[in-house]
Structures are given as structure tokens and as C-alpha cells.
């Protein structure tokens, strides 16, 4: 993912320098910058970057207009990086097709994690394999390999696992998991969720009664632990 080209757009040249520095240090190699909306559109048309980090308030063409122009011809991921932190600004950004919205001031680590997550989603690897303590999960085939056995994940088990995988190492609340499966009105689904989790454990854990990968966080939700990742 580090070889993906990223275009950073901001009218503050010092901030652009800092962004370049942050991304270079993180291992990214193709970072281009633009200090105005007009310049950003010109570079976008010429270079076709893999991702755009876009400020909103710029002299001339603002970020939302640039986003609209980009969306006319492309579906590349766009992260809005702006000082405009109002909820309505966020909604406007997402309505215009932004993939993420990060409000200044931000921590470089947070920006890098978000960019990484966006790139992972937008440019998935050919085979998405998740390594767990007792098993391996192929996300593209929705299959679990444990020893010599192969288990297929049901649609709901797969949705749950993908949600847990996207947030691996972090607690995902019961409500979030239910919402992922049922949508906005998930109340009353908690018991069914427990059943799905049990079935999932039966497939990915060596001993479902003593899980080591898909852990329960009492009262809160669940956490997926990927093999090799820090606990």
C-alpha cells in the first residue's frame, strides 16, 4: 500500500511540507502536493493519484468543489482534512462523496491509520487472508481453514467477522455488531448475536469454550485478536 500515490491539497504550504514529511517517514514514496483547488484538479487530471487528501477552505476553488469535480470522473478515495469541524460540514463532505473526514488539529498517527484503512478498503490485496491463533480466514472466499478442515462462513458470520477484522485489536460494542448485521433498528438482536458469535468461534477457535482469538469483553462487546499483533 505504501507505493500508492497520494495527492495532498492545502493552501498552507508549511502544512503540506509536514504532511510530506509524515508520509515519507511512514514509508510512503509517492506524495505530491497542491496549494490550490485549481492546481489540485490539474494534477489530478494529469497524474491520476490513488488517493487525495483535501482541505476545504482554499482561495479560489474550495475543497468541496474540487471533490465534486473529482467525483465526475473518478471513484478514488478522498479524505477531507479540514479545520471546519461542524457536523453540517461533515455531512456536506460525505454527501459530496468523501470517504473520510478528519478535523484539524490531528495527530499524524491518526491520519496515517485512516489513510491506511482507506487504501486497504479501496485497493484490497488479491487474497485477503487473516491469520488467527487456531485458524486462517480467507475473506474473499469467506472460508475458514483449521487444521485439515475447511468451514464456510454464513453471510451474517462473514459480516460480523469482517467488522471485527476491520477493528482488530479494538473492542467492538454489542450494539455496533448488531447494527452491522441488522441495520439501524437492532434492539432485541443481542441474543441472536451471541448465537452467531458462538458459531463463529466453533469455526475459528480450537476450543470455542476458551476462545483466544475472538474474545468477549464483559458487558461491552467483542475483540478480535490477530495472530502476531500486539495484545
Amino acid at each position: 500500500m505504501k507505493d500508492k500515490s497520494i495527492l495532498a491539497v492545502d493552501d498552507e504550504s508549511e502544512l503540506l511540507k509536514m504532511l510530506q514529511s509524515v508520509f515519507y517517514r511512514a514509508g510512503y514514496t509517492k506524495i505530491t502536493t497542491a496549494s490550490s483547488g485549481k492546481e489540485a484538479l490539474a494534477i489530478f487530471r494529469e497524474n491520476q493519484p490513488d488517493m487525495v487528501i483535501l482541505d476545504v477552505m482554499m482561495p479560489g476553488i474550495d475543497g468541496f468543489t474540487v471533490l465534486k469535480e473529482i467525483r465526475k470522473t473518478s471513484t478514488i478515495p478522498v479524505l477531507m482534512l479540514t479545520a471546519r469541524g461542524e457536523a453540517d460540514d461533515k455531512f456536506l463532505g460525505f454527501e459530496n462523496g468523501a470517504d473520510d473526514y478528519l478535523i484539524k488539529p490531528f495527530l499524524p498517527k491518526e491520519l496515517l491509520l485512516r489513510v491506511q484503512a482507506i487504501l486497504n478498503r479501496a485497493y484490497p490485496e488479491k487474497e485477503r487472508i487473516v491469520y488467527l491463533e487456531a485458524s486462517t480466514v480467507n475473506l474473499d472466499k469467506a472460508e475458514v481453514y483449521r487444521g485439515d478442515e475447511v468451514f464456510s462462513l454464513t453471510a451474517k458470520e462473514f459480516t460480523l467477522f469482517e467488522k471485527l477484522f476491520e477493528n482488530s485489536g479494538r473492542i467492538v460494542t454489542t450494539g455496533s455488531l448488531c447494527e452491522t448485521v441488522c441495520g439501524e433498528f437492532w434492539q432485541g438482536y443481542e441474543n441472536t448475536l451471541v448465537t452467531h458469535i458462538r458459531h463463529l468461534r466453533e469455526k475459528i477457535e480450537a476450543n470455542p469454550s476458551k476462545p483466544v482469538s475472538l474474545l468477549t469483553v464483559k458487558g461491552l462487546g467483542y475483540r478480535l485478536h490477530i495472530k502476531g499483533a500486539e495484545k
Binding site: S21, A83, A87, K104, P105, L107, T173, Q187, K218, G219
Partner: protein, 457 residues
């Protein structure tokens, strides 16, 4: 509105009191008048006709007059005469010159009730005729009232009715005027009350009190303008500070994470980064508290699962890494809560976040923090409790005072409070709830928030 109602109620009662006072004073004055008159001999001022008549007797064809009769006439400066049935004067005493000694029946009828040639007279039926006593002109007023008997009761009724109508009209006009004053004054008083609370309003600039309304509108506009300017200034500052702060955070993180740099430099960078993060939080808090204060924060009410709300807040803390020495858990919670809480998810999340953060900030040695929720009688109660050092009772009283958010910078030398608690209180207020702080035995602080189900459709 209660103070205004109280004011007008007191006003009406005081006027009724004044009317009663007048009534009592009048009765007392009339009493004093009668008493004074009695003491001054009003009773004796009436000429004693009967007694006087008895003092005049006919004996042996001549009239014998008791000396007392002459005394009575002398005391009252009066004269007397006795007229027989033929109209002739058969006896007299001090009869003024020019008065005839013979009277016709019509003359007697004419003066009997009023005056005899300007002399006010009184008459009495004497065994020998008609006794007439006359007084000096101008000393006695004589009136004769005569009307049909059936009109007497009518007049009496009209008099009483007039009295009652007068009192009724007086009360009606008084209440009407009070009502008019109340109608005119109520918006003005309400406006003044709003001004005292820093709220804005607009009054109609018409009527007799238009000038006052205009003045109050000016004051309100001025207040609104001042508030807007302040709010805009804070928003502007918080906006303008974001990009520079991003660079401070970015470069300090870069330096902190650069293994090629000396450890001392990296530690200094870490301090810069941490302080910048505090600034970032402060800017966000300042922005939010300003927006809440001036009702600029969009308020999005939707049904929420209170338990999930707590789960999200706790998970956020745990996912971002709790500092060493702290434990955070969902505790003693009714896991079967089926009722929704109607509120703003972002604000309620922020409220719980601030309370938990408060426990962490004020207990640097670490503590156990428990969060719970229960639904009872359509009231959702959130409780955040810690096993930390608690707070002083005097400070607790200040915290529980609705009107003030104490600042540690003036009260104690302890860690800064920032705007966290102020924001919590503001969020509770916009949800029509209340907040209560209390110390836990043996140590710790408990914060309870009660949110009524005000927004449920």
C-alpha cells in the same frame, strides 16, 4: 412567570387592603363625629316643645306661665304664641313686632312647617290651641320632604342599588385597570427577567409603554450583538488555531518518534505533543461550550440505547488505551433495558466521556471507575463513580449549585478543570435533566445524571 404573578397578586391584595382601610377609617370618623356632637349637646339643641307646652296653663281665664318656660325661651332666643281655634293669638311671649295677632287657616297651614315671615317656627298641640314657638331668622333650617309612600321603598332601593353599583363599578374598573397594567407590564417584566439571564427577546413597540419596550429591545439587541460577536470571535479563534496546532502536533510527533534524535530531545517533543493535545481539547471544548451557551449547537434528538451509549464511551477509552493504574468498567447495570432514551447521541457521549475523563484527570494516582445506567419511571439515570480521592465538601456544594461552575484556578491549587464539567452541565440542561455530585465512603466521587423522557414523541 411566578415572580410576576406574585407581584400582581400582591398588588391586588394591597389595593383591597387599602379599600378596607378607607372603609374602617370612614366608620371611625363618623363615630367620632357622632360622639363629638353628643358631647357638644346636640341632643339638647332640639327645642323641648312638649315640656314647654306643659309649662303653659290656663287658670281662671288667664294663662299662667312657669318661670322655667321663660328661661327656655331666653336660652334659645325664641318667642312663643298660642293661637286658638279661631286663629287669634290668645297668649304670646316676646312676639316680634310686625307679626299679626290673627291668622287665617291657610296662613297657619303655610307657616306650620316652615317659616313665619323668615322666623323658623315649631308648633305643638296645646290644650288651648296651637302653640307656636319662633326662632331668630337664620338659626334653624327647615326642610319638608314629601312623596308618595310607594316611592319611598323605590327610592330606598335605588339608593342601595346605587351604592352597590358604585362599589361594583369601582371594583370592576380597578380590576380592569390592573389587568391592563398587568398585560402591558407582563412582557416588560418577562423581558427584564430574560435580560437578567442573558437571553434575548423582542417586545412590540406600541401602546403607552412603547418607550420602555423600545429601550428594552435596544438592550436585548445590544446583548445579542455582544454575544454574537463573542461567539464569532471564539469560533474564529478556534478555527484559526487549528492549522498551526496541526503543525505543532505533527512535527512534535515526528521528533518524538525519530529514533535518530537524542532521548532528551524526543522527551521534550513528547511534552510539546502532549501540551498541544491539551490545547486541542481546550479548543474543542471552548467551541462546544460556546455553541451550547448560545444555542448554536445543532441538537439532533433520536432514540438511543442508553446501555450501548455507555458501551461506546467505555470502549473508546479502552481502545485508546487507559493510563496505567486505572480500571474502567460497566457495572451494576440493568442489562434488560428495553426503553429508548431520546437525546443527542454526540452530546450524551461527550457528557459521559467528560465525566470519566474528569475522574482520570483528578486522580493522578489511578482509580477504579464504574459507569452504570438504569431506567426508572421514564427517567434515565447515568452514574459515574470512581474510587479516587473525592472532593472537599465546600467544593461539592459549589458543584451542586446549578448556577456556578467552580474553577479550580480560583478555588484550589489542584489540577485544572478546564471546561469539562461546564459542558456536562450544559448538555444535561439541554436535555432537561439534573446532575448531582456526592462523595463516596470511604473515598471517591459519584456523579448521577437524571434525564427525563422529555423528547419522546
Amino acid at each position: 412567570m411566578k415572580p410576576i404573578d406574585r407581584f400582581f397578586r400582591r398588588y391586588i391584595l394591597s389595593v383591597i387592603g387599602i379599600l378596607l382601610l378607607f372603609f374602617v377609617i370612614n366608620i371611625v370618623l363618623i363615630g367620632i363625629l357622632f360622639l363629638t356632637s353628643y358631647l357638644n349637646g346636640v341632643k339638647d339643641s332640639v327645642f323641648p316643645m312638649e315640656r314647654f307646652s306643659n309649662l303653659i296653663e290656663q287658670k281662671n281665664g288667664a294663662f299662667a306661665v312657669d318661670p322655667e318656660a321663660n328661661d327656655i325661651l331666653a336660652q334659645t332666643d325664641a318667642w312663643a304664641m298660642l293661637i286658638d281655634d279661631e286663629g287669634a293669638v290668645i297668649w304670646e311671649s316676646g312676639l316680634p313686632e310686625g307679626l299679626p295677632l290673627k291668622y287665617s287657616a291657610s296662613e297657619i297651614a303655610m307657616f306650620s312647617r316652615w317659616y313665619l315671615k323668615d322666623y323658623p317656627v315649631k308648633i305643638w298641640n296645646h290644650p288651648n290651641g296651637l302653640l307656636v314657638v319662633g326662632f331668630q331668622p337664620g338659626t334653624i333650617s327647615q326642610y319638608y320632604i314629601s312623596f308618595k309612600t310607594r316611592y319611598f321603598w323605590l327610592v330606598l332601593f335605588i339608593c342601595l342599588a346605587a351604592l352597590v353599583i358604585n362599589i361594583g363599578v369601582m371594583i370592576f374598573l380597578f380590576l380592569r385597570n390592573t389587568r391592563k397594567i398587568e398585560t402591558a407590564m407582563r412582557p416588560i417584566l418577562a423581558g427584564i427577567q430574560k435580560l437578567s439571564q442573558g437571553e434575548t427577546f423582542h417586545l412590540e413597540e406600541k401602546g403607552e409603554l412603547a418607550e420602555i419596550n423600545t429601550g428594552l429591545n435596544h438592550a436585548s439587541d445590544y446583548l445579542a450583538k455582544k454575544d454574537n460577536t463573542r461567539a464569532e470571535w471564539i469560533r474564529g479563534i478556534s478555527h484559526d488555531i487549528r492549522t498551526p496546532l496541526s503543525m505543532i502536533l505533527g512535527y512534535s510527533s515526528e521528533i518524538e518518534d525519530n529514533p535518530d534524535l537524542p532521548a532528551a530531545t524526543r522527551r521534550q517533543a513528547e511534552i510539546i505533543r502532549k501540551q498541544s493535545e491539551k490545547l486541542r481539547t481546550l479548543v474543542a471544548d471552548l467551541n462546544l461550550t460556546t455553541k451550547l451557551e448560545y444555542s448554536m449547537q445543532p441538537f439532533r434528538i433520536k432514540p438511543l440505547d442508553p446501555l450501548e451509549l455507555i458501551r461506546q464511551v467505555i470502549s473508546e477509552f479502552l481502545n485508546n488505551g487507559l493510563p496505567e493504574g486505572y480500571e474502567l468498567e460497566l457495572s451494576g447495570t440493568d442489562t434488560d433495558i428495553k426503553t429508548f432514551l431520546y437525546g443527542d447521541n454526540f452530546l450524551l457521549n461527550r457528557m459521559l466521556h467528560n465525566l470519566i475523563q474528569n475522574s482520570i484527570t483528578h486522580n493522578p494516582g489511578g482509580c477504579q471507575i464504574t459507569v452504570s445506567v438504569k431506567m426508572d419511571n421514564r427517567i434515565c439515570t447515568f452514574c459515574v463513580a470512581d474510587s479516587g480521592c473525592g472532593i472537599k465538601e465546600s467544593y461539592l456544594a459549589l458543584l451542586n449549585n446549578d448556577t456556578s461552575i467552580p474553577s479550580s484556578q480560583t478555588e484550589t491549587a489542584e489540577a485544572e478543570h478546564g471546561l469539562g464539567l461546564k459542558i456536562v452541565r450544559q448538555i444535561v440542561k439541554v436535555h432537561y435533566g439534573d446532575i448531582q455530585f456526592s462523595n463516596i465512603t470511604p473515598h471517591g466521587l459519584k456523579t448521577e445524571i437524571h434525564l427525563p423522557d422529555k423528547f419522546k414523541g
